[in-house]
């Protein structure tokens, strides 16, 4: 079934929407969640919560891309769970590495935080990614949005893992300069 048709089912409050979404995107959502959590049990819970969140948020939302919509939800839920897991010190996913790498891009003495900040920052990073060559932009997204392992990104784009790592290092350095220019640091 096409995404538009599934969204239409949500708008009609037809529970078939959840079944259709699940059968189409379960694997995809599971992969995103597993990249962050590295734990099967927690992933399954996050993926199930994703269908509920989607059901609760459509309507009023009418996503342009259902795939990206559920990707963002499962990523968000997985990240929240990651934080609670970190408190309990149990995590096998890519997140510790991903967050450590992102630390390079930001100033340590900044205190401005919160959702508003994230939203504004998101807009800036959109512009930043669009300024990158397509492959580098894609590699950046796979690593820092999806939390994919470097070797998986390399395989996806037919590159060597070493090249991907170098590409990411350069991207982070450029992002740091960019965020400085934008006044975030």
């Amino acid at each position: 079934m096409r995404d538009e048709d599934i969204v239409e089912l949500y708008w009609q409050r037809n529970e078939q929407a959840i079944t259709e979404t699940s059968s189409k995107y379960e694997k995809y959502c599971y992969t995103i969640s597993y990249n962050i959590l590295g734990n099967v049990e927690d992933c399954n819970e996050c993926v199930n919560d994703t269908w509920l969140s989607t059901w609760n948020s459509i309507p009023p939302n009418r996503p342009y891309s259902l795939k990206m919509y559920v990707a963002k939800i499962v990523r968000n839920l997985s990240f929240n769970r990651y934080e609670s897991m970190t408190a309990k010190k149990r995590n096998n996913g890519q997140m510790p590495l991903v967050l450590d790498e992102l630390q390079e891009c930001i100033a340590s003495d900044s205190n401005v935080e919160g959702e508003v900040m994230a939203r504004e920052l998101g807009r800036s990073i959109n512009s930043f990614i669009r300024s990158l060559p397509e492959t580098e932009g894609n590699v950046f997204i796979r690593r820092y949005f999806y939390g994919e392992a470097v070797k998986d990104i390399a395989r996806r784009y037919g590159l060597k893992a070493n090249n991907v790592a170098v590409m990411l290092t350069r991207c982070r350095a450029r992002l740091k300069d960019y965020l400085k220019e934008e006044g975030y640091m």
Partner: protein
């Protein structure tokens, strides 16, 4: 700002950027494909050039006469092919009286010989065509073979009795 905010901010990335990153690319395949595209492109250019430029020139333009020339010369060669084929004809002439066999050919390389036996060999030119006669025989038959060769020249070659094609004659 902390690293978690930075990670969370990626949630606001545009869908088209996320979708773009979904594409899988195999470098080996893409390289092979681009090479193939170059080869096919070059091939198409050659074909189009020949069809659009050379062929119409050959049909219509004055310069086309140069292009057509090889074609007409080929047809001339084809017309003379009858002679070419005739030159390559071979004949076998058998003397039923003494069992001698003479091989006559227009092609020197087709002359047969037997290392174990003496060979009587004669060459004659008739009406611009060179004929080679070879007869394998024993020492005792050398004289008969020589006479047979002379008879073939006189009766068959100069008498124009040889027919086109590989033919066997008995007498």
């Amino acid at each position: 700002m902390n690293k978690k905010v930075l990670f969370e901010s990626l949630e606001y990335l545009d869908d088209d950027l996320l979708e773009r990153s979904e594409m899988k690319v195999s470098r080996r395949f893409s390289l092979d494909f681009s090479k193939l595209a170059y080869v096919l492109g070059a091939f198409v250019i050659v074909i189009v050039s020949v069809n659009l430029i050379l062929v119409p020139m050959g049909r219509k333009g004055e310069m086309g006469a140069d292009y057509m020339a090889p074609e007409s010369s080929i047809s001339k060669e084809e017309k003379t092919n009858d002679n070419e084929y005739r030159k390559a004809d071979s004949y076998m002439i058998v003397n039923d009286q003494n069992g001698l066999v003479a091989y006559v050919t227009n092609e020197e390389t087709a002359v047969t010989s037997d290392a174990q036996k003496p060979t009587v060999y004669e060459t004659v030119v008739h009406e611009g065509v060179e004929y080679h006669i070879s007869i394998n025989c024993s020492e005792q038959q050398k004289q008969q073979a020589q006479e047979m060769a002379e008879m073939i020249i006189r009766e068959y070659i100069q008498g124009n009795r040889l027919q086109t094609g590989i033919t066997e004659y008995h007498y």
